[in-house]
């Protein structure tokens, strides 16, 4: 139902404030990033693109940053790395998170709020601290480190290239993946749970009535119906993972260079703003497609609610 406001100005004010805010602080910055990515860096800040030289306007576009990115194998590999780890994290989160959400949704109705609360609780505590805790757990003598050595898993990990040396679990692809999966697991579980909890169980009863084995009904009915939840959860994990910085920084190592880290270094260490901007622009291009998928899902989900 459209709420009729007596004057157009009433409406405009309500939409206008957040709209203007977003245009100013979200959209405009992107254009600025674009602009700076083709500018020249000058000591502490960047040079203007347009300058007056002897009375006439001169436009200086420095596209060399983009060329550099395209040509330098390091950047290419880093982008690939980021996509790779984001994908691996998403798949692992899905494999662990889907059954988790499923069993949560099928638990007794009185138990479910407690289960949900227990998933939310870590989410509300600082993620930085929990990632830091993994440092301790995976360092020499840490609980998980000892456990893995105890069950001989370190040989398997060494063999598969996930760790570099026996017994050393920190600053490896393994520690990075554990950290990422750990942090993003709730982001996968929550939308999946929301979706699975709403599923009409009578559909499964109908399937059973028609002679379908429960296992088959799971694959043919439950999973397809939860498609929206799978997509939402995957997008909520995949997209931010690509540009993740904190976890690779604390738990990752030389093998696991990701693009978030590169951007950070270009900006803070090299003080090369145009370079950092170029890296950012390419990153945005990378996530445009999944971002569009996510936005489409969001509006679809809102339509369905109506």
């Amino acid at each position: 139902m459209k709420l009729r406001l007596p004057t157009l100005s009433g409406r405009s004010a309500v939409v206008g404030v957040p709209y203007f805010w977003l245009l100013l602080f979200f959209l405009l910055p992107f254009f600025i990033v674009l602009r700076i990515s083709v500018a020249e860096m000058e000591i502490v800040t960047f040079k203007d693109l347009l300058t007056y030289v002897e009375g006439s306007l001169q436009l200086k576009l420095k596209l060399s940053n983009y060329l550099f990115i395209a040509e330098d194998p390091l950047y290419f590999k880093t982008y690939l790395n980021s996509l790779f780890y984001a994908a691996v994290t998403t798949l692992l989160c899905l494999s662990i998170g889907y059954p988790f959400a499923y069993f949560m949704a099928r638990a007794k109705p009185t138990t479910q709020p407690i289960l949900l609360m227990m998933v939310m609780l870590p989410f509300w505590t600082s993620f930085l601290l929990r990632v830091y805790a993994w440092k301790g757990l995976l360092s020499d003598g840490g609980w998980v480190s000892n456990l893995l050595i105890g069950i001989g898993a370190d040989h398997l990990l060494l063999f598969s290239g996930l760790i570099a040396a026996e017994g050393k679990f920190m600053n490896t692809p393994f520690s990075l993946i554990i950290g990422m999966v750990y942090t993003y697991l709730p982001f996968m579980i929550l939308p999946l749970y929301a979706n699975l909890a709403k599923m009409d169980l009578r559909l499964l009863e109908a399937a059973a009535d028609l002679g379908c084995a429960p296992w088959l009904a799971f694959w043919k009915i439950t999973v397809p119906l939860s498609k929206a939840g799978i997509i939402a959860g995957s997008m909520l994990v995949f997209i931010p993972c690509i540009g993740e910085f904190v976890i690779p920084e604390l738990l990752g190592g030389p093998q696991t260079l990701m693009i978030g880290r590169v951007l950070w270094d270009e900006f803070f260490s090299n003080n090369d703003w145009p370079m950092a901007s170029s890296v950012a622009v390419v990153m945005v291009l990378l996530i445009l497609v999944p971002l569009a998928v996510f936005n489409k899902y969001q509006s679809q989900a809102n339509e369905v609610r109506k």
């Binding site: 939409v15 910055p29 600025i32 609780l121 697991l185 997209i239």
Partner: protein
Amino acid sequence: MNATGAFPKLFGKGWLAAGYLFLYLPIIALIVYSFNDSPLPTKWGGFTTKWYATLANDREMIAGLWLSLKIAFFTACGSVVLGTLAAFSLVKFGRFKGRTLFSGMVNAPLVMPEVIIGLSLLLMLVSMQRWLGFPERGALTIWLGHLLLGLAYATVVIQARLQDMNPSLEEAASDLGAKPLQVFMLIILPLISQSLMSAWLLTFTLSLDDVVLSAFLSGPGSTTMPLVIFSRARLGMSPSINAVATVIIAVVSVGVIAASYWIAHNERKRSREMAEAARA
């Protein structure tokens, strides 16, 4: 449900237990080691509370905490206000011009990597500073960044509640003589108040915990607590971090459990009353 259970119950319970163990392992470790009397983080040296004493004297950390709390407070307030406006527009104004762009901009910060948001916002603020002379990088700029993120989260929460609300309620209020602003203040606002509270708490937590945006947008003298922790964590292990962590965990746990219990209690009371009314 047994007839339709695709998996044995034990398997389900086992999976959940393992999952929760995974989720809570770091939290337990933090708490345990905050009482560890040993300079080495992984060797147990006996029980002590000295790290808490160190924490109390840790000026840098306490200053950071104080700053973070202030910024978080204003982030939460701003996010709820902006989020309500945005959610209202998206739910009640139908297909207005520019709606797709608006909806895209509101949703994007939810998934966009923070390094991108941080970098772009910073560059814009620097440009603004060049052109207009302000703002200086510091608490204000951090607040702006957190607000952007908070707006996205708050809108999602509030929008969900607004859509579930019976539209006839607003029509009834209007029919009885309430002007649009009165409809909002007297009917809509009270009914979405719980989601406003959730949005406030959510954005407060988000702001309190944020590292990347704060790093990009901070200035001299505006080091937030996560930044303090982060710079120390990069260098190595620091036991006082465990102490801080335990304090935060304790506060959050009490809060979440209390809130959950209170909500559940109200739900039960309501169901009871409805059942009684139906019998009467």
